[in-house]
């Protein structure tokens, strides 16, 4: 299950490199954002550009669905990260709490991983660490990469390769996800991308034609929007999530009068 994690904790240099690709948004997802932009602008004719853009717009819609699904599932299916499962855990079975077998996890030697592990030993557990199944990173990046692949085979292969061999591998080596988490995230991505592409093309074809036409007609505006989207893709939508968090806080503190 955690065979890939067995390479961790042996070389500081290797672990630091893996950690770099885990933590640095540009290194982690800049390539995917770049591939998305290249696919957006890379059509050889107006017709092929329009076709690509239709696929990519639908892909973005699918990616939002995928990240929603993986978030809902991870909050529903309570399965902690492997590093958490290396701790003492009791599982509810009938009317009893039964101690689970601990998962052997190797901790990476880089500074951040060591600091996080020391925090874990002192009882610091992020709520996000308690629901690792399925991997939302896997779902999100596989959905985007597959969408790029549908628009442009070469760029798609690069994006898919980067997603699998850099982003997903780093997640598994570090013990943040098991291969099962990643496989489940990828399954959600493939399923939902297929469904959304089919439904949007069949049922919302007119709307899609209009929207892709607008991106060509108002190319400056659409370029700005696509840049923002690619930027957010590169940072796994962290800024949008922060913005939504701000809206929730504003609702609570301003509208409901709960200012502190």
């Amino acid at each position: 299950m955690l065979l890939i994690n067995s390479v961790a904790g042996r070389s500081w240099l290797f672990d630091s490199t893996v950690a770099f690709f885990l933590d640095n948004d540009l290194a982690k997802a800049g390539v995917i954002g770049g591939c998305f932009l290249a696919a957006w602008y890379g059509g050889k004719s107006a017709a092929s550009t329009t076709t690509r853009r239709k696929i990519l717009i639908t892909t973005l819609l699918a990616a939002v669905c995928v990240i929603t699904t993986t978030k809902v599932l991870s909050k529903t299916i309570f399965l902690p990260r492997p590093e958490i499962q290396s701790q003492k855990i009791y599982r509810l079975e009938g009317d009893q709490l039964v101690e689970m077998k601990r998962m052997p996890v190797r901790v990476m030697l880089d500074e951040t991983s060591q600091k996080d592990y020391r925090a874990l030993l002192s009882g610091e557990i992020e709520t996000n660490d308690l629901g690792s199944f399925p991997s939302d990173h896997a779902g999100f990046f596989i959905a985007i990469s597959l969408g790029i692949w549908l628009a442009s085979r070469r760029l798609g292969l690069l994006a898919l390769g980067w997603s699998v061999f850099v982003i997903m591998a780093a997640k598994m080596i570090s013990g943040q996800h098991t291969p099962l988490d990643v496989a489940a995230g990828a399954t959600v991505a493939i399923a939902e991308l297929a469904v959304v592409q089919y439904v949007v093309r069949r049922k919302l074809g007119g709307w899609l034609d209009k929207l892709s036409g607008l991106t060509i007609r108002y190319s400056a505006m659409s370029s700005a929007i696509v840049f923002l989207i690619a930027f957010e893709v590169s940072s796994t939508m962290i800024h949008i999530r922060a913005f939504l968090g701000l809206l929730v806080a504003m609702r609570r503190h301003v509208l409901l009068g709960m200012g502190s």
Partner: protein, 300 residues
């Protein structure tokens, strides 16, 4: 393509509906010197308790889901002391004095309620006296009761004969005094789970923000025992222990149907008991016991 999509949708639906795993519950011991056991479930007769308290060998429940005040012992089982027929709607938290009089709050019906040692229940002070949504409760050294009100953002002092006065007004800035407890030195700890702050009101009535870590701490119920404060956190699903002068320490984290930890109490042996509201609407609750591994060894 159409057939393929239908197959994908069917598989996705089957996958989603087969996720009965959500009914699972986990307890993660971050302090390995403790162990967890499921102490009680709905099978003993309660609904979904919020507050709970060990007192002289009995466990008392402010049963929010079951709309009742209850007591439990191993020999006698569960006894209903006060139920909804008396007017309470959502028992929240409770304290018991040395004469075994039980006092409890109600965040829906409001007011301060008593089940006296002679077995007579009464409403000491209700909404008409300004207690609109009562939450935390503490027994003051002078014998009066301190009651937190989440809607008025105040802590009231209530005498046994029902006189209500402001103890901490709005100007103290406590948004929701969800739980309160005195320590050995007469300091009052106040848990605010709206602003996510643990306060300490010292003897000179100066309010200190003891723990203020908005991102990962939201105190639900606090209980002081043997120099330490035990804290449940229903937002982050954790049990903490805080000892003055030391760092806040996580004892356990909870997930699945055991994640909604509410009340906390400690018995004479130092075993910690937590009420868990797994599904308040459907009156599903549990009580978890967290005890030191050595305790079992000593018992054997």
């Amino acid at each position: 393509m159409k057939k393929f999509s239908v197959i994908i949708i069917v598989i996705a639906c089957a996958f989603l509906t087969s996720c009965g795993i959500q009914k699972e519950g986990l307890v993660i011991m971050t302090d390995h010197s403790y162990k967890a056991t499921l102490f009680a479930t709905n099978k003993i007769g309660f609904g979904s308790p919020d507050g709970l308290l060990w007192h002289k060998g009995k466990l008392y429940f402010a049963d929010e889901g079951g709309v009742a005040l209850e007591s439990w012992t191993r020999n006698e089982g569960l006894k209903k002391l006060v139920d909804g027929g008396f007017g309470c709607e959502s028992p929240e938290d409770l304290v018991i004095d040395d004469h075994d009089n039980i006092f409890f709050t109600d965040d829906d019906a409001g007011g301060l309620w008593e089940f006296a040692a002679d077995g007579k229940p009464r409403l000491i002070a209700g909404k008409d006296k300004g207690l609109i949504s009562t939450e935390g409760i503490a027994l003051s050294p002078d014998g009066s009761l301190l009651v937190g009100d989440g809607e008025q953002h105040k802590v009231f002092r209530v005498t046994r004969d029902g006189q209500v006065s402001d103890f901490l007004g709005k100007d103290y800035g406590i948004t929701k005094p969800e739980s309160m407890v005195f320590d050995d030195h007469g300091n009052l700890y106040i848990a605010d789970n709206e602003d996510n702050v643990l306060y300490l009101l010292d003897a000179s009535r100066k309010l200190h923000r003891i723990i203020d870590r908005n991102d990962a701490f939201s105190p639900e119920t606090i209980y002081f025992a043997k120099g330490s404060l035990y804290i449940t956190d229903s937002h982050n699903h954790k049990l903490f222990v805080y000892t003055p002068g030391e760092e806040l320490k996580t004892i356990a984290a909870f997930g699945g149907q055991l994640k909604n930890v509410q009340g906390v109490t400690v018995d004479d042996q130092g075993n910690i008991f937590l009420s868990v509201q797994s599904d308040l609407k459907h009156k599903i609750g549990n009580v978890i016991e967290i005890s030191k591994e050595e305790t079992q060894v000593a018992r054997k």
